[in-house]
Symmetry: C2
Subunit: 480 residues, 2 copies
């Protein structure tokens, strides 16, 4: 029995401004309109036993992740258990919790296939074939990792020195795990043919993993057992107590288990792979949109004048470049990034600076996703704030009030069910209503299509923390 | 009697996206918050006889120009006649019309000081002193131009080869006018010390100009006389019939008069001067904001990571640059420009491409100025359009209706007087009203402070041409 485990709790910073902690890289859409997370689920479902896939993610991404999964035609959401992390931890805690959950609630004999949600793999058939090889090795008790044959002297990855072939498996023993090398060493690895990138994808029997962890990292395993045993909710979505969760060490599965284990194996990947670690990597993806004669690849509304080798990704605004080369230009509603292609790794420094200065653009986009839909800030002025709200079919916002603002709602698409004070009524397209300050209100979409609504807030403070929630379907009472 | 003549009808393209034809370069604000036009008026008023300044501008810029002028503390708008061009023409027609108007309505003996509205001059005292020298030469019958001592081998300007000094005047004869040179020639001009840039500023007696024009370009003068004689309105704002206006040849005053005249003189400028011909020129202005250690000069919300010698001008959005150098980045509400500093002249190619494709960003900004104030498009969707309107005190929009949209208005600042159908009422801050499709309506600001109003349009077409105007204070009935 193969259970894919999707890890999607992390939030990298190198793909800012598209990836931000409130809506990180796994949710980023590729040129074909599919998110990385969706593509990962798709790979997982091809291999999953009875459509069962386990997901370990941050509590904040639960609704977003379910929404992304729900779009898949073959999905049965009730066969997709979620383990929700109350805070960011590393991969060892996440994977050990997944193993403990699987053994207790699914099967003692399950094999886990661990898949980070932010990898891109083009050839899913080749991936499936390699995963089958890994599964066979795992059933023999191996802890299997996937090694990516290097295509360049990357200094940003750990490497695996591959050992002797394991008979009739397609896999090899692991001679050594090596840290991120310097450039010269990476060059040597590349030419030797004996090294592979450590992809961060794994395959092992859940019981074999726990047995090895008992010897390589008994403290981490004990903390994970305590966290698992003390779960607030044992049924999906599984919620863990913050204290016992944070009591687990912040350590990767590589350090905690793989590098200290004796029975590891590597399956050299026969598929193409990218962890999309930077905008340079995105710009080099084979996406189907051909570069122009000067090597520029553009998306969105752009004007390119005598420029070379640029990657431009726009949204609604016009981006014009004149006489430049080797640039990556990423335009979003509230921020634009202009980076040299070869310096794209340093985008994380932008996010660090934004965090230090407390700038919201480090975390949030102009469009903010909520369990019920999303909102986009159209204007954030001294005297008003204007938002466009999208409410998904069947969803309902919390029953709430504001102390420092009143709101004017105009429905521009769909039909809303609105409560204002004690009155409840339908608001059709081209109708508006007024919600005075301090007045309880609620917005619901009883229909089968999205509602679009323009909200004009009047007041002297427009922060998200001036929302007093009295009832909330999504468990946000007392939270912002 | 010295009459400054401000020429502000043109619309360059090299400062896109800040300068666009609907709100061109003269209205662009410098770092001190003043527009080039305002600064030009300020220079003019220091020299004008009895505060009288003539302005030749495009009909479309009339209200904008008056608004810009009205901010000057020493201005008397009734002493500022306007000549409104119904279409773009060159400088010869504009200046000849100004001369004809001056002689007929102001004084037969007036001396004109012609000032393009998009030049930047820092030392206004030095300018005033040079203008006095020019005036003395003009009273002797000279046609005087101002020559700028070159500071670099510019290939974008015409040059003047200076001749013998004219005794006791500070001026020199003009040996020759020379076309825009190639780089080597420009270098030679720069080192010789005998050449000056032809600034496009002039000083001459109105009657002397007409006398010379009678011999150098009798056809242009005859067409100008016909246009002047057939003016639709002879009082300010003077409006010309389109046909007689367009019958004037499209020719510069340099070609039509100066280069063929025998009695020209040049006053070498003792003031600093820039025609702000490109973003490179803007980036090099002494604006008071010091560059950082790496030579970057930034305005607005920016994050700069390991970048050099960049000029970044942002508005509301965040601009981040990583590992780049020598870039000019200009961010506006609906468009962002990224240009190499040394290629900034080619920004005009962006505008050409936009025009060819019919893109609105070639002409309009996200904020569009109107006689009554301005509007900013916050959202332009399939199902609605959202605008923020600003109505200036005492102003009133036309009495109008729309066939294909209804409107929801919410006042967020000030108090509006609103007519909807037959009803007229006040709309205070935090109040809203609804204007059904096909219903006459009007918005007025009876108060002493700006009104800010959020307009949500619902319908299936939101173009500016779906405005049926029944009455309009600004003469726009039947126009968009």
């Amino acid at each position: 029995m193969l259970i894919p485990v999707i890890l999607s709790g992390g939030a990298g910073t190198r793909l800012w401004p598209v990836s931000r902690s409130a809506y990180p890289k796994p949710f980023m859409r590729m040129a074909d309109g599919e998110s990385l997370l969706y593509k990962t689920l798709d790979r997982a479902l091809r291999l999953a036993d009875a459509g069962r896939v386990l997901t370990v993610t941050a509590r904040d991404y639960y609704f977003l992740t379910r929404d992304a999964y729900a779009k898949h035609p073959d999905v049965h959401l009730d066969r997709l258990p979620f383990l929700l992390e109350p805070a960011g931890r590393n991969t060892a805690p996440a994977i050990l919790l997944a193993a403990l959950y699987t053994i207790e609630y699914i099967s003692k004999n399950a094999t886990l296939l661990v898949l980070p949600a932010d990898h891109l793999i083009g050839d899913v058939d080749a991936f499936a074939a390699d995963a089958q090889r890994a599964q066979v090795l795992a059933q023999d008790g191996h802890l299997v990792t996937f090694g990516i044959p290097p295509t360049s002297a990357e200094t940003g990855f750990g490497y695996i020195r591959m050992g002797a072939p394991i008979a009739q498996s397609g896999g090899r023993e692991i001679a050594d795990f090596v840290e991120k090398p310097d450039h010269a060493t990476a060059e040597a690895y590349l030419t030797s043919g004996e090294y592979a990138w450590n992809s961060g994808m794994f395959c092992f029997r859940a019981d074999a993993l726990l047995a090895v962890a008992q010897s390589t990292c008994p403290d981490v395993l004990a903390a994970a057992r305590a966290c698992h045993a003390g779960a607030i909710s044992a049924e999906s979505p599984v919620e863990y107590a913050r204290e016992t969760f944070l009591a687990m060490p912040d350590i990767s599965i590589d350090y905690a288990v793989m590098e200290r284990a004796k029975n590891c194996a590597v399956v050299p990947a026969s598929f193409d792979w990218s962890d999309i670690g930077s905008w340079k990597a995105v710009s080099e993806l084979e996406t189907g949109d051909e570069p122009d004669a000067a090597g520029n690849r553009v998306r969105g509304s752009t004007v390119v004048v005598e420029s070379e080798n640029c990657f431009i990704q726009g949204e609604q605004r016009l981006v014009a470049v004149v006489g430049v080369k080797d640039l990556v230009v990423i335009d979003t509603g509230d921020a634009v990034l202009i980076a040299h292609r070869e310096r794209a790794q340093q985008v994380k420094q932008v996010v660090e600076q934004l965090r230090e200065s407390g700038h919201a653009a480090a975390r949030f986009h102009q469009t903010v996703h909520r369990p019920w839909g999303s909102f986009t800030v159209l204007e954030d002025g001294a005297d008003c704030k204007v938002k466009r709200l999208t409410v998904k079919p069947g969803q309902v916002l919390s029953l709430q009030l504001h102390h420092r603002r009143s709101e004017h709602w105009t429905v521009v698409h769909g039909t809303a069910k609105v409560r204002v004070g004690d009155r409840e009524f339908l608001l059709q397209r081209n109708e508006s209503t007024f919600i005075p300050m301090q007045t309880l209100h609620r917005l619901e979409n009883p229909g089968a299509e999205d509602i679009h609504l323009i909200e004009v807030q009047c007041g002297d403070y427009f922060g998200e923390d001036d929302i007093v929630r009295l009832e909330d379907r999504y468990g946000r009472v007392g939270k912002t």
